[in-house]
């Protein structure tokens, strides 16, 4: 073995030198590390602290309670119902299968719901609560709570969900809420972070949709500490949100329910306007649908049923449907002519049963003709030729102007989906939209509410209201928001000649109350409650000369969709009008037969506040009326019971 080398001399000195050099390099590196730590921990500490807080703290939104919707008497139309659901946390459950088995023994849960929950549970982190079943009965919740020790990881939670106690009766007005969809997000410009909450409920149609911002309220927040996996460690603090504002509608739920029930089996719309302030006491459309189906998420079958029904239950016909107003438009024609002075009320026009205008023969509904007929009789008996004549004298532009003045062909601003504008055609309109010249035949057609004229039941009710009052009545759906009353719908005087208006009302009175009036059979016979009105029957098909020669086919012999629309507009009491009612029955046949009785019944409900005496009905109708009233009362009582339970 070699002797250890005594390290002396040059190599030892070199080692020392190099050790020093190495030490210096190392010190330099340590200096860099120290500098780096100093710059991160002292100079940039605040930024990093912020990042750490962002990591750790999640801000969660607390959805506010949605505002409630009431009717004018404080009956809740849309409420937030407590909704019980079973939630399971996988990591607390131990044996998931076993626990679920025990749960299904207690509570009936469909297998597919269970499978979906299981699938979601396996996909999410074990600590995330997964909803197993929704909308449980209170009894089920009680069962789960009692058996809690046998059901580890399972808890019953309570949440709020929208419920419409009156369901079908208010579906078209109040609308419904549903979970916010990607489509909604792409369509609306709304930065509210609440919309980012999965399944957050927003208004989809009706008042729920149009007054979404009033009803929604604003989000509260809670700051929670989470770990890297997203598990919630604790809540740091919370700030409650502002609940949505309550809305009171002008609607009378009871009258609305009656109108819906009265129109059962028809495809129809009815509107009741309070003449004092324009309140919409009822806007009914039949058939209707159950809005609660949509809140829960509608099944494909229900959806197909609703969509394929030829009576179109989803359509809010009262405000959205437009129909040729038929003879109900004669008030417009007459008022335009009388106001313009092209004819005096007493002046007669000869009705031979037809009028020839520009080589076209226009027929009166009465083939034999009415003979010499003045304004009063023409309206009472709904003679067409009289209007063919006066319309030619006054011209379409004056008629359209009068129509708009009375609320036709203009859009009434109501917070419900798709309020129709209808159409009060004039020369400019035809030139602009159809690019054709206005022809005299168009005027003649329009004079009896056919041709291009279109109006909705809502517009017809407004027209009746304006004729009844002489004031500019604007329909009002929202009575108050958050207890603050909305402006009244009764506007200024329309500036129509009061004499002419009085004659008009008198004629409309005779339509109902004169033996030869077209709506005599649907009159109200109680003193001081009598009704004035006008029937209308509008064709939806062209009657050919050939058919006319053969004899016009009766409505009963036509397929449903080719029958005439039946219309009726009215106001009552004649002496001191309080309500205006318009009814349109799609393809109902004659206005006097199909629409007038409905309007009369609804009017009686409104006038007597739900308790009309039977002797207000014509004697022939009392049995039917009694039977109908009983049926509808039973139905309303049922709805009320349902509400008490909720």
């Amino acid at each position: 073995m070699k002797k250890p080398q005594r390290d002396s001399g040059e190599s030892a000195r070199r080692l020392s030198r190099r050790a020093m050099l190495l030490g210096t390099v190392q010190l330099g590196i340590v200096g860099v590390l120290g500098w780096r730590m100093q710059s991160m921990q002292v100079e940039q500490a605040d930024q990093f602290r912020l990042l750490a807080e962002e990591n750790r703290i999640n801000i969660r939104l607390i959805p506010p309670a949605r505002g409630l919707i009431f009717d004018r008497n404080g009956l809740p139309l849309a409420e937030n119902e407590q909704n019980y659901r079973v939630v399971m946390v996988r990591e607390d459950a131990g044996d998931v299968e076993d626990t679920l088995n025990r749960l299904t023994q207690l509570v009936d849960i469909p297998q597919d719901t269970l499978d979906r929950a299981l699938e979601e549970m396996n996909r999410r982190s074990p600590f995330v609560p997964v909803t197993i079943a929704d909308r449980l009965k209170w009894e089920d919740v009680a069962k789960i709570n009692i058996n809690a020790p046998a059901l580890p990881g399972i808890t019953a939670e309570v949440g709020l969900s929208r419920h419409y106690a009156l369901g079908e009766d208010i579906a078209h007005v109040v609308g419904y809420v549903g979970p916010v969809s990607d489509y909604d997000l792409s369509r609306i410009d709304d930065q509210d972070p609440l919309l980012q909450i999965p399944k957050f409920q927003i208004g989809k149609t009706g008042v729920e949709n149009k007054l979404e911002h009033t009803l929604r309220g604003s989000a509260g927040t809670k700051r929670i500490e989470v770990n890297a996996l997203g598990r919630v460690m604790r809540e740091l603090d919370r700030q409650e949100g502002i609940p949505g504002k309550d809305i009171q509608l002008a609607l009378d739920a009871r009258l609305q329910a009656y109108a819906q029930a009265r129109m059962d089996g028809e495809s129809a719309g009815a509107v009741v306007i309070d003449l004092e302030d324009g309140d919409l006491r009822a806007i009914a459309s039949a058939p209707a649908f159950d809005p609660n189906l949509f809140v829960r998420g509608i099944s494909v079958k229900d959806w197909t049923d609703l969509n394929e029904n030829i009576y179109r239950p989803l359509a809010a016909k009262a405000a959205q449907g437009t129909y040729p107003p038929g003879s109900t438009f004669k008030m417009v024609t007459a008022l335009a002519a009388l106001e313009a002075g092209v004819i005096s009320p007493e002046e007669t026009v000869y009705c031979p049963g037809y009028t020839d205008v520009a080589d076209i023969r226009f027929h009166c509904w009465k083939r034999a003709g009415h003979g010499n007929i003045n304004f009063h009789e023409s309206l009472k008996q709904s003679c067409d030729c009289y209007y063919y004549e006066v319309s030619q004298r006054v011209g379409i532009d004056k008629m359209a102007e009068m129509a708009r003045k009375l609320g036709l062909g203009i859009k009434h601003d109501l917070p419900i989906s798709a309020v129709a504008r209808g159409l009060a055609p004039d020369k400019t309109w035809k030139a602009e939209v159809r690019g054709e010249d206005w022809r005299i035949g168009d005027t003649v057609n329009a004079s009896i509410g056919q041709g291009y004229v279109l109006s909705s039941p809502l517009q017809l009710a407004v027209m009746a209201a304006r004729i009844a009052t002489g004031h500019e009545i604007t329909p009002r759906l929202i009575k108050s928001v958050d207890g603050i009353e909305e402006p009244s719908g009764r506007g200024e005087s329309l500036g129509l000649n009061e004499n002419i208006l009085r004659r008009m009302r008198q004629s409309m009175n005779d339509v109902c109350n004169h033996r030869r009036g077209t709506a005599y059979r649907s009159r109200i016979i109680a003193d001081g409650m009598r009704m004035a009105g006008k029937t209308g029957t509008s064709q939806v098909r062209r009657i050919t000369a050939e058919e006319r020669a053969r004899g016009v086919t009766r409505n009963e012999d036509l397929p449903w969709e080719r029958r005439d629309h039946a219309l009726f507009v009215s106001f009552a009491p004649v002496e001191n009008p309080r309500f205006a009612v318009a009814v349109v029955v799609e393809h109902g046949g004659g206005g006097s037969k199909a629409a007038a009785p409905i309007a009369r019944d609804i009017m009686l409900q409104a006038l007597y506040d739900g308790e009309p005496p039977l002797d207000a009905y014509p004697s022939a109708e009392r049995d039917r009326a009694r039977e109908q009233q009983e049926r509808i009362r039973a139905r309303l009582a049922e709805a009320n019971r349902g509400q008490d339970r909720a």
Binding site: P4, R6, D7, L33, Q38, Q41, A45, F48
Partner: protein, 379 residues
């Protein structure tokens, strides 16, 4: 002066050796280890288990081993250096064939009572062997090409084997540690200059070739290098960890968020918080003050080792001491550079603080060698 004479005359014997131990280094090592215990207690959420208790036991065992190694005369260790190196190479080879796969790399052999990482052992035996080599080699031959080539092979063989596992961190440590011993032994600086120049040139050439027709690497290889150099290119993969580590470190501020109050580690945002990234927890909870304190302890250990080496007239002893000190330095410097975002993440633990058996035992045995050199130095 004869070997025996030198031994009898200058070297303490028996229990007197305890007095001649390098006590400051022992105290400093214990202080560093205590930092480790504290942090392991903290990252376990205020619990002795699962990390602190085994770590304390291992440290106790390691200190015992260190003292035993320190009591054995330094010339014995010089004489077994070659054998130790060959044994660790064989163990590395064994890992290749019988090793267990952990964390995606073959690193350790299960000996039944402990898991041995031959790569850890190699760091020390290589330094030992190189020190012995230069002790044996007449100093005038030090810079001759043939005698330079031999130690280069001594370094490259284990480096290559470790790289195959793959364990890039240890490979870098082996390469730098070995080169440092060669540098200290007095190999002419021109060799180093040449290697560094060639290395830099090579890297520049590879990067310059990117996008040209004579591109030296495939595109995906370049992209991998990009991610390696700048992890923020891959914010959900490698980048996530280093970003979270930097947030933890920076959010500690000057004085830290308080013991067991670090949100980054307590809420599991930190990766490997008990091993490679333990320094970030320390920095988060004790701030710059705590981090600087630990850094100072490390510097003091190096300083005492350098003093011991420079004052030691035994060439083997001083080369070995400096080699161990450098390896130790590389450990913590690379780790800290890694967690502060100055260097890519290569998987080097923080010495004596990170949770881990082999690394701690091997380091303490290495300090046993340093102690032996100190106790048995010619006086």
């Amino acid at each position: 002066m004869s070997y025996l004479e030198y031994n009898a005359k200058y070297v303490p014997t028996g229990f007197r050796k305890l007095i001649y131990l390098n006590w400051p280094v022992i105290l400093l090592l214990t202080a560093v280890a205590c930092f480790g215990f504290l942090m392991l207690y903290s990252v376990a959420g205020g619990s002795m288990t699962p990390w602190m208790e085994p770590q304390v036991k291992r440290f106790g065992m390691g200190m015992a081993l260190m003292l035993i190694v320190a009591m054995v005369p330094i010339w014995f260790w010089r004489n077994v250096a070659g054998v130790a190196f060959v044994v660790s190479l064989l163990l590395l080879l064994a890992v290749e064939f019988f090793g267990s796969v952990g964390m995606g790399a073959q690193r350790w052999i299960d000996l039944g009572f402990m898991r041995l990482q031959p790569s850890e052992l190699t760091k020390i035996t290589m330094v030992m062997f190189l020190a012995a080599y230069y002790d044996w080699l007449p100093s005038k031959k030090t810079s001759r090409p043939f005698w330079v080539l031999l130690p280069v092979l001594i370094i490259l063989v284990p480096t290559y084997m470790v790289l195959r596992q793959p364990d890039l961190g240890t490979a870098i440590l082996l390469l730098l540690g070995g080169s440092t011993v060669m540098f200290l032994a007095g190999v002419h600086w021109a060799y180093f200059a040449t290697v560094i120049a060639a290395g830099v040139g090579g890297i520049v050439a590879v990067f310059e070739s990117r996008g040209t027709t004579w591109q030296l690497l495939k595109d995906y290889q370049f992209r991998r290098i990009d991610t390696f150099i700048d992890p923020s290119n891959d914010p959900l993969g490698a980048g996530y960890h280093i970003t979270q580590a930097k947030i933890a470190l920076g959010s500690g501020g000057l004085t830290g968020r308080g013991f067991m109050q670090g949100t980054q580690s307590r809420l599991n945002f930190l990766p490997e918080k008990h091993t490679d990234f333990i320094f970030t927890t320390l920095a988060e909870e004790f701030g710059f003050v705590g981090a600087a304190a630990l850094l100072s302890l490390y510097i003091l250990i190096i300083l005492f080792c350098v003093i011991s080496a420079v004052t030691n007239k035994d060439r083997f002893a001083s080369l070995l001491t400096l080699g161990v000190a450098t390896t130790f330095f590389l450990f913590f410097a690379v780790n800290m550079a890694m967690v502060t975002g100055l260097a890519p993440v290569v998987g080097v633990p923080l010495p004596l603080v990170s949770y881990g058996g082999s690394a701690m035992l091997v380091l303490l045995v290495a300090f046993g060698l340093v102690q032996s050199a100190h106790v048995h130095k010619p006086r």
